[in-house]
């Protein structure tokens, strides 16, 4: 079944001259065998029970080294943001095409391609690369690791407060069916503060398959706000695996906004490795047409005295499907854990659906944990109240949907980003 992928892998490897002695090379091979032994998840795979994804990837996808070299094709950033508001990285059809001028990059911040990092930061790569993305758990992580080549390496030095957000713009414009796999490594140094955004868009009229993996380490007392903005047309399929490891006294806020896509699966994995760390996970998905959006999150309380809070909200229209699975692990040692989770959904039609499942596994005895999920329709009484004041039905509906999502959006502290996401959501809801 995976012959084609095997051929792809062999020819991919053959193109990687001079890398056979590197640890990365060994990892790729291991990852490939891990993938080969597991294969794509089938209908009986518990983790992919509601999201049948394997076949799409199996049949239509070719994997190879991206052909364009960044220096040969400097492309402008396909951005909706002002150049000066952020540090921009354009990743066009899977190739890191442009990193905005060195002037924008504040002193000491490293934003380079993964391949450049192989030469300039070998130690960091040896220490961190592939250490968090477990190739034996998720076959897509294994596949991504096997073909890992293109991606971004970010390093924020100790105590650096990065004023402007770093935005990775993934843009798909290829007019052929295709696939991309990107791989990022982000290291947030002790006491550093940074906002990192991954924004996906597409002008391609063809189906696109993206398989992305990011590994992120947040060192002691560091603060990270990490955004994903998936808004890439109704044909895109995307599997995203993100692995975040938090050290002592660190704080992470993740924001996952999914506004469009044929099939989107996000696996967000947060490990609280050291005490007194805090994680907030915010998510918002707005699906329509035949869209399918699946969010799996794991927060792993490995040590005592950590706090995690998760709020995911979904609005499902037409025939769309949503999936939410939120795992909270509290290990035996993780006493005094506070862990909260909430998933709320609004179904706008009779044919839209959501499968939601909280999953708490708690081995410690002195913890506070809670979870809750709700699924419902718009409140008719509220709707009538607004309309009885002269507000048109469609505006009234949009106002209520906004009210529903506001407690997620209000947590975005960067004004231009909040406004942008707000306006994108307005477009979806109106």
């Amino acid at each position: 079944m995976t012959d084609q992928i095997k051929d792809n892998f062999n020819s991919f490897e053959a193109q990687l001259n001079g890398e056979s002695k590197l640890p990365w090379h060994k990892l790729r091979k291991e990852a490939y065998s891990a993938f080969e032994s597991k294969g794509f998840p089938g209908p009986k795979d518990e983790e992919y029970k509601y999201t049948h994804v394997g076949r799409l990837f199996e049949k239509k996808v070719h994997y190879s080294i991206p052909k364009d070299e960044p220096t040969k094709s400097p492309r402008s950033v396909p951005t909706t943001f002002h150049e000066e508001d952020a540090i921009h990285i354009a990743i066009v059809d899977g190739v890191v095409a442009k990193i905005s001028g060195s002037a924008a990059i504040e002193q000491g911040i490293v934003v380079i391609t993964l391949r450049e990092a192989l030469k300039s930061h070998p130690e960091e790569l040896n220490t961190h690369f592939g250490k968090y993305a477990d190739i034996n758990k998720d076959p897509f992580t294994a596949l991504n690791t096997a073909f890992s080549y293109e991606g971004v390496f970010i390093q924020i030095p100790k105590k650096k407060k990065v004023e402007k957000p770093i935005i990775l713009h993934y843009h798909f414009r290829n007019q052929k069916e295709g696939s991309v796999q990107t791989r990022n490594l982000m290291l947030v140094g002790p006491g550093a503060e940074v906002n990192i955004v991954e924004s996906y868009s597409a002008t391609s009229s063809q189906a696109f398959f993206g398989n992305h993996v990011s590994e992120i380490v947040v060192e002691p007392n560091a603060h990270l706000n990490y955004f994903k903005l998936q808004n890439q047309g109704s044909l895109t399929c995307q599997i995203d695996n993100t692995f975040i490891h938090q050290k002592r006294d660190s704080e992470v806020r993740t924001f996952t906004f999914t506004l469009e896509g044929k099939l989107i699966r996000n696996n967000l994995n947060i490990a609280l490795d050291e005490e007194n760390s805090t994680s907030h996970m915010y998510g918002l998905y707005v699906a329509h047409g035949d869209g399918h959006i699946d969010n799996h999150t794991v927060v792993d309380h490995r040590v005592p005295n950590c706090y995690s809070n998760e709020i995911y909200k979904g609005i499902l229209d037409d025939n769309s499907k949503g999936v939410f699975n939120g795992k909270i692990f509290v290990r035996q040692d993780a006493q005094k854990t506070n862990a909260f989770q909430s998933n709320k959904n609004i179904l706008l039609t009779d044919t839209a659906s959501i499968n939601t499942k909280p999953q708490l596994e708690i081995w410690a005895d002195d913890v506070k944990c809670s979870h809750g999920c709700t699924t419902g329709q718009l409140d008719e009484k509220q709707l009538f109240y607004l309309r009885s004041r002269g507000i048109g039905a469609s505006t009234a509906r949009a106002m209520l949907l906004h009210a529903f999502v506001n407690d997620v959006l209000d947590n975005i502290e960067i004004d231009f980003l909040r406004e942008f996401i707000n306006s994108e959501i307005y477009k979806r809801l109106d």
């Binding site: 409140d379 009484k381 509220q382 009538f384 109240y385 607004l386 309309r387 009885s388 004041r389 002269g390 507000i391 048109g392 039905a393 505006t395 009234a396 106002m399 209520l400 906004h402 009210a403 529903f404 506001n406 407690d407």
Partner: protein, 252 residues
């Protein structure tokens, strides 16, 4: 202004209004009283366009237009306002944005320019003073966490902002203490003009000490069984509803 003719309405096949006839002219205040379950609130809801109710017979014209054909928002834009018996809490919708949206959609319907932020805020200040409402309330989510009295006062504040031609106050006095009642009634009285009319739906005579009605109608089993002036309300206060029930049973 408003002509209700032989209005019948049902909910889930159960008939609640069984032939209401009522004429209201500009400048008039009509009180609609009656025992529990007589159909008072149903009448208010049907006029505002709540679609839980099915109008099975009769007509309602407002300034010559058959408003039964109108959506709730268009009725509001034509100038009908319902002060709810139980105002709904809407967390996440700011009172400010709600009111401005409502006001500007009404203005647009009437071919007027939208109010800009400055003029809007000026109007808000002016009307807030009129109904003695705490300015802090408008910066909060609509009715969220408001006390019963605050919610009712907010209804009258919205009415002041939207300046309806016909205001329907549905049990606005229920749950109000005497001070809140006086403030709400004062607000209503200040908004009264020869051009607008008010329907006061109430169970008790108490509110009518403050809002003096020109006409009092008694609703019983979905029909207006007795009409009179304000002295009828006093009589009801004294004697209760039983004699009305007996009288109407005799007639039917």
């Amino acid at each position: 202004m408003l002509h209700i003719k032989n209005l019948h309405a049902a909910i889930d096949g159960h008939e609640i209004l069984r032939g209401i006839n009522l004429d209201i002219k500009p400048g008039e205040v009509h009180a609609i009283m009656g025992p529990n379950g007589s159909g008072k609130s149903t009448l208010a809801s049907v006029l505002a366009g709540k679609d839980d109710y099915e109008v099975t017979d009769g007509s309602v014209t407002f300034e010559g237009k058959d408003i039964l054909e109108f959506s709730p928002e268009d009725r509001a834009r034509e100038g009908i306002f319902l002060a709810f018996q139980y105002p709904v809490e809407i967390p996440g919708v700011s009172s400010n944005i709600f009111l401005r949206t409502a006001l500007n959609q009404i203005r647009e319907y009437r071919g007027q320019e939208p109010l800009d932020a400055v003029h809007f805020l000026k109007l808000v200040k002016e009307k807030m003073a009129l109904v003695e409402i705490d300015p802090k309330l408008i910066s909060r989510s609509l009715n969220e966490g408001f006390s019963g009295g605050e919610k009712k006062r907010n209804e009258i504040f919205q009415m002041a902002m939207l300046e309806p031609k016909l205001a329907i106050l549905d049990e606005t006095d229920s749950g109000l203490d005497i001070d809140a009642l006086r403030i709400v009634a004062n607000g209503v009285n200040k908004l009264k003009s020869p051009h607008n009319a008010t329907i006061v739906v109430t169970h008790y005579q108490r509110l009518l000490d403050y809002i003096i009605p020109d006409f009092v109608h008694v609703l019983y089993k979905g029909r207006i069984v007795k009409s009179g002036d304000k002295s009828l309300a006093l009589e009801l206060e004294e004697k209760g509803y039983d004699w009305i029930k007996e009288e109407s049973e005799l007639v039917s």
